[in-house]
């Protein structure tokens, strides 16, 4: 765009002379090294001080060219690996966890009778057909209209000796259960699936957050899920929990957990007089209720518990913050957790700065399909267990049983299969067990363009509704640098809420917590149990928080963090584990060494230890790879890159050898990341791989985006998805409801690195046009475009539209069936049946006009009642139910292909793909790659078009008044 804008301004000045104003869209001369352009992009970054023009002009030869890492990264990871990872995690780990957490169905009548699930396994995708299970491929499903739903396999459960099928599971394409898994490209082509990028029918992404305005903690395990909120009202603090009827004064809760002494509580929160001042009203409130002992507190709570229908749950069993393990009936860990929550709240009250930023990307978690499916599965699995248990009990309670009792007969997968299928097809996640009621969680993958598909798979949509008129969550967050694309967001109501992942972003999946926790203790974390409130808050000691759970404290946090990171770089712990040392939570002004002459109270605030080490291994965090630097010197050297080019080294080797690592948003706060190696200082800890990876897939297609007015990039991100061209390698075999293809798609003359990476140069959309920038004919005002008729004659902008029609040969309950019969070649109506073959189905290659019959079908008149033999039915027992082609009058289409197959219910189904070739006409929309769209205003003969001295005649004319200034 940059090049076009520059010259358009010049041309606008001398526009009176129409004949000289042609201008080609892409010219070879203007193809300079994109690296240089990117360099100037670096100028906008905060790290940069004075601009050294000499340096900017010089080619960056000194540092290692790390570009090759990007394609390598994408080779191992693919563009949408996060979905696959998430789903694979569910299939391999999550499902097993759920089943083993609920592995017993014990009869309440006779506890000696129980069903135990030993293991769960997902079989190969298959489909039962005539009693035999047949293996299936995605292409088959696509054709048979079964899409996701039939792509299921059998989770099998073993009872002593038997394999029991408990349900059928929809499988994500290309996941480890899918037939495409581990296939190379050639095999993929054979299976008829798309190669670049991954296919998947539905995507589910959502974001979730942890906030602290009223200190709330959401927690979940395999057993249950809860949200605990501590809120402040009129100076008093309360606990809000769903199990209770109304909110409970916090001190009562503390007392119920065994902290009978007020002093202990105050000490636990912190000795600062201002803390105790704020705690005082709550203590008083507690006294007002006459609660002084643990027993009294428990009685008070008992009264407030919601009476559930199941059983009288005692307050001892009220679970809050239940992820904090209760060891030997000691509530101490919980007390400390509550104290820390209180402390943070009071801090926030005293000082607004310590409030957590809700929009901070580090506080957000992305929910991927695997997590959501596992929730759904868990719910359905538990429902099934309850159902089985009820049935078992009913059967056992009966005194006389006629047949042998087999509890297994109740274990069948219908409820699970149906539940999964229903939820996925409607997108309504209504899981009462987890109080989840969300709509539109599944979307049908946009298949109208290749880029649209990829863009759709990297999209992140927010949980809350879009109607809120708030600017906070919509604003560009500094913490989304490198993780989420700054350009790619829709316009209008979802602006800034719907985001897209950047090119190198990875979304983590859950990781085993146990080993990490014991590792932390090994590395010198002092156990919480052994610490008094006073010790907890001594200056210079850091709380160690693991996935939101307080493990204990550590005296030397930096040493601890370094040790953890070293282990991670050595591959001893997971590569996605994040270690983040938060040194300035709260206001750390001066460390109280007595030398500071600041205001005393501020000194105290500073001295208060709210510093923490956060270790995270949970799923849903966004992270990205970075090159590690030692004192500003990159660990990746020239010879590493050479090894990579020679194929000796892979991206994983870089991770394993500790040359690169993944950082999540929180850990980025501990790093100083240089954009280029040449810009690093001795304090630099990491170096970016390539700056262009901050952009997403759609924004990466824009040439010279840094020369554009910023909203133009956003417009282009939305518009790039509408571009016509190629859709997938299997586009000619697909039977989509609507498909737009370009007759002559071209590779752009000016490409970007992202274009090469995502394969847009192989599956491109659009054409290179010669463009004149001038006013012409008046039919080009308001962004309209004048087009050259001869260019259109020669195939410019010509497109193929494929539409689908289908027909089913239905079977009826009385054993009758529709029939497709030979057309009548004479008599009336023969004209409309011209395109039919002798089998009564339209032949491929025939020209079809509106009103033509494409299937000569007849339906039996009687479809209910007693069974009849279909063979013996006379002709008059049928009535015609022909299907005619409806389309715009005067448009002649062609039957492109006809596919016959059996659908889910084993009915014969016939699909017709109808093709129409169109040339551009007035009113069609055209766009450059810079958010410059316009409709065709008029089509003009070539001889009326401007031409140059060299004889170049443009394909289209754009009005210079339409260019952004």
């Amino acid at each position: 765009m940059g090049l076009k804008q520059d010259s358009s301004e010049e041309h606008a000045k001398q526009n009176q002379d129409c004949f000289e104003c042609w201008f080609p869209f892409y010219t070879f001369d203007n193809l300079s090294d994109p690296m240089e352009k990117w360099l100037s992009f670096g100028k906008q970054l905060p790290y940069d001080s004075g601009i050294d023009k000499q340096f900017l002009a010089a080619p960056i030869k000194s540092s290692v060219d790390k570009y090759q890492l990007v394609p390598e990264f994408l080779k191992v990871r693919g563009l949408v690996k996060q979905h696959l990872d998430s789903f694979n995690y569910f299939v391999n780990v999550g499902i097993q966890k759920i089943v083993s957490a609920n592995d017993r169905i014990v009869s309440s009548v006779d506890p000696s009778i129980y069903i135990r699930f030993n293991s769960v396994k997902i079989g190969e995708p298959s489909i039962p057909r005539d009693g035999v299970s047949e293996k299936i491929t995605p292409q088959l499903c696509r054709l048979s209209d079964m899409t996701v739903h039939s792509r299921k396999s059998y989770p099998k459960i073993r009872l002593e000796k038997k394999n029991v099928i408990i349900g059928r599971m929809p499988i994500m394409l290309r996941s480890c259960c899918c037939v495409l898994y581990g296939k190379d490209e050639a095999q993929l082509a054979e299976l008829g699936d798309v190669d670049t990028g991954t296919t998947k029918k539905r995507i589910i992404i959502d974001s979730d957050k942890k906030g602290n305005i009223n200190a709330s903690v959401t927690s979940s395990t395999e057993e249950r899920k809860s949200k605990t909120v501590i809120l402040m009202e009129k100076g008093q603090m309360y606990l809000h929990l769903n199990q209770f009827v109304n909110k409970i004064p916090i001190m009562i809760v503390m007392k119920a957990m065994g902290m009978e002494s007020d002093q202990e509580v105050v000490q636990m929160v912190g000795r600062d007089p201002r803390y105790s001042d704020l705690l005082l009203p709550s203590i008083r409130e507690c006294a007002k209720h006459g609660v002084y002992t643990k027993q009294q507190a428990l009685e008070h709570l008992e009264a407030k518990v919601k009476k559930s229908t199941y059983s009288g749950a005692s307050s001892e069993k009220v679970f809050f913050l239940f992820f904090v393990r209760v060891r030997r009936d000691s509530f101490r860990a919980k007390c400390i957790y509550v104290a820390v929550m209180l402390r943070r709240m009071i801090d926030a009250y005293l000082n607004k700065d310590t409030m957590d930023d809700k929009d901070y990307v580090g506080n957000k978690r992305l929910e991927l399909s695997g997590q959501l499916i596992s929730l759904l599965f868990e719910d359905l699995f538990k429902s099934m267990i309850e159902e089985v248990k009820k049935r078992m009990d009913m059967n056992m309670a009966r005194l006389s049983r006629s047949s042998r009792f087999d509890p297994l007969q109740y274990v069948h997968g219908d409820s699970i299969s149906a539940g999964l299928e229903r939820t996925l097809s409607t997108g309504n996640f209504n899981i009462k067990r987890f109080r989840m009621d969300r709509k539109g969680m599944t979307q049908v993958l946009a298949r109208l363009s290749f880029i649209g598909t990829l863009g759709h798979m990297t999209r992140i949509s927010p949980q809350f509704e879009k109607s809120r008129k708030v600017s906070g969550p919509r604003a560009l967050q500094p913490s989304q640098w490198g993780m989420l694309c700054p350009c790619d967001t829709p316009e209008g109501e979802a602006c800034g809420l719907v985001k897209n992942l950047a090119l190198m972003t990875h979304v983590t999946t859950d990781e085993e917590e146990g080993p990490l926790i014991s590792l932390c203790y090994c590395l010198g974390v002092e156990d919480l149990e052994l610490l008094s409130g006073e010790e907890l808050h001594t200056p210079n000691s850091f709380l160690v928080i693991f996935n939101g759970l307080i493990l204990g404290k550590h005296q030397r946090p930096q040493r601890f963090a370094t040790a953890m990171r070293k282990l991670r770089r050595a591959g001893k712990i997971g590569e996605f584990v994040s270690v983040f040392v938060n040194e300035k939570q709260g206001r750390v002004y001066v460390v109280p060494d007595g030398s500071g002459d600041k205001n005393c109270s501020i000194l105290k605030t500073g001295s208060i230890n709210k510093r923490c080490v956060y270790i995270a291994s949970d799923g849903g965090r966004v992270c990205r790879p970075l090159v590690i630097a030692d004192k500003g010197i990159s660990r990746i050297k020239e010879h590493h890159m050479k090894e990579l080019l020679d194929g000796v080294r892979t991206f994983d080797d870089f991770l394993r050898d500790g040359l690169m690592e993944y950082l999540d948003v929180n850990e980025e706060n501990n790093a100083l990341i240089a954009l280029y190696e040449g810009k690093s200082t001795p304090a630099t800890t990491h170096i970016e791989i390539e700056p262009f990876t901050i952009l997403g897939i759609c924004a990466g297609l824009i040439p010279f985006p840094h020369h554009n007015q910023s909203p133009r990039n956003t417009y282009q991100c939305a518009m790039g998805k509408q571009a016509m061209g190629n859709i997938a390698y299997n586009q000619l075999f697909r039977m989509d409801t609507l498909l737009y293809l370009l007759v002559y798609p071209q590779r752009p003359l000016l490409t970007t690195k992202t274009i090469e990476l995502v394969g847009y140069d192989k599956l491109g959309a659009g054409q290179n046009a010669t463009v004149a920038v001038m006013s012409y004919s008046g039919y080009d005002i308001e962004d309209a475009i004048v087009m050259n008729k001869s260019s259109l004659d020669r195939g410019f902008g010509r497109c193929i539209v494929l539409k689908r029609c289908s027909a089913i040969r239905q079977k009826y309950e009385n054993n009758t069936e529709d029939r497709i019969i030979r057309p009548n070649r004479e008599g009336d109506g023969a004209g409309r049946m011209q395109i039919l073959d002798d089998d009564g189905i339209a032949a491929p290659g025939e020209i079809i006009r509106p009103g033509d019959i494409y299937i000569n079908k007849e339906t039996p008149i009687i479809t209910r009642g007693p069974t009849v033999s279909p063979a013996g039915l006379p002709d008059r027992a049928y009535r015609p139910s022909i299907q005619t082609f409806k389309g715009p009058e005067g448009e002649s289409c062609v039957v492109d292909k006809v596919a016959l197959f059996n659908d889910k219910n084993n009915n014969l189904c016939i699909k017709f793909s109808i093709r129409h070739t169109r040339r551009p006409e007035v009113g069609d929309k055209f766009s450059s790659r810079h958010g410059q769209k316009g409709v065709c205003g008029t089509i003009v003969q070539q001889e009326d078009f401007p031409f140059s001295e060299r004889g170049i005649c443009p394909d289209l004319i754009m009005n210079p008044h339409g260019f952004p200034r």
Partner: protein, 317 residues
């Protein structure tokens, strides 16, 4: 006619270069309207023959029927005969179905790939019923062994293409496939005058930068005299770059460039359907016919009052 002021001029043509596919000539002593009329007629109204109707018998190639039909239409066919052929819409020999020998030529194409090597179906595979109307041969006469037809489609093993095509006469105005012209362009002859006195005030380095400022090679520096000379005035594209450069150097008027509005340099390139020289001659012929049509039409005489001298001029006055 009546001895009044006449606008009649006698344009001169000087041919600079003439090959089968390219003609370059100068047209002098006339104005832009005449030059442009000639250009427009060459692009849009000189008739050629092109494939207009395709009947596909078998097509198992990867390209669909319309796609192939469109590609066939764009293949240039030798059309020396086109001027004497009839338009099928006013052919009385075939009642307008456009399939008689006076207005159409039939082509056959049969191709099938039998082995594992990809088979290129080119314009050479089109068999014409008339040896004067055949696809244009682009092969190098020096290397006759090399076949260089226009690729229509590529076939893989087992794929087949069988079709019958009808070529008809038409003009570029109806569809670009009938346009015999690949490039028709003209430019005003530029008159470049360097202000030698002002130029002498420049240093050699300044002269060099000024010469370099032109995107095309119009000026150069004489190695002996170190004077700026015009080497190729026609390379000038009226881009004003040198004038702007002179102004930015603080020497306005360093060079004066004018377009000579009565002389034109024409470049005509043909698609191969007819020779470039024939294209110019046909265009002139058609232009004459059009003028005749105006002159002979009945209401021209009546319109005499309206057009006045112009009417007389058109009638050869």
């Amino acid at each position: 006619m009546d001895g009044g002021l006449t606008y009649q001029r006698f344009p001169k043509v000087k041919i600079r270069e003439m090959r089968d596919d390219v003609v370059k000539f100068e047209l002098r002593e006339t104005d832009a309207s005449v030059a442009n009329a000639l250009r427009r007629v060459m692009i849009a109204e000189v008739p050629t023959v092109a494939i207009d109707l395709v009947e596909i018998e078998v097509n198992s190639s990867v390209l669909n029927d319309e796609f192939i039909a469109h590609r066939l239409g764009l293949i240039p066919l030798t059309s020396e005969r086109a001027m004497s052929m009839r338009f099928s819409r006013d052919c009385d020999a075939c009642d307008g179905d456009g399939q008689c020998e006076f207005c159409s030529v039939e082509f056959q194409l049969r191709a099938r790939c039998h082995n594992d090597q990809t088979l290129d179906v080119t314009s050479k595979d089109l068999y014409s019923s008339d040896h004067t109307v055949v696809p244009v041969d682009f092969s190098d006469p020096n290397e006759p062994a090399e076949q260089r037809g226009i690729i229509i489609v590529k076939l893989r093993r087992g794929q087949e293409l069988k079709l019958r095509a009808i070529a008809r006469k038409g003009i570029g105005k109806d569809h670009a496939k009938w346009s015999p012209a690949a490039t028709v362009t003209f430019m005003y002859e530029p008159m470049i005058r360097i202000n030698e006195d002002l130029m002498e005030t420049l240093s050699l380095e300044q002269k060099n930068t000024w010469v370099e400022s032109s995107p095309t090679k119009v000026f150069d520096i004489d190695p002996v005299t170190q004077q700026v000379v015009v080497v190729d005035p026609e390379a000038y594209t009226y881009d004003d770059e040198v004038i702007k450069k002179a102004e930015s150097m603080g020497k306005p008027g360093l060079v004066e460039i004018e377009a000579r509005e009565d002389s034109f340099i024409f470049t005509v390139e043909s698609t191969g359907a007819i020779k470039a020289s024939q294209l110019v001659l046909n265009a002139i012929e058609i232009l004459k016919q059009k003028l005749d049509a105006v002159r002979l039409s009945e209401d021209t005489v009546e319109a005499d009052d309206q057009f006045g001298e112009l009417g007389a001029h058109m009638r050869g006055g």
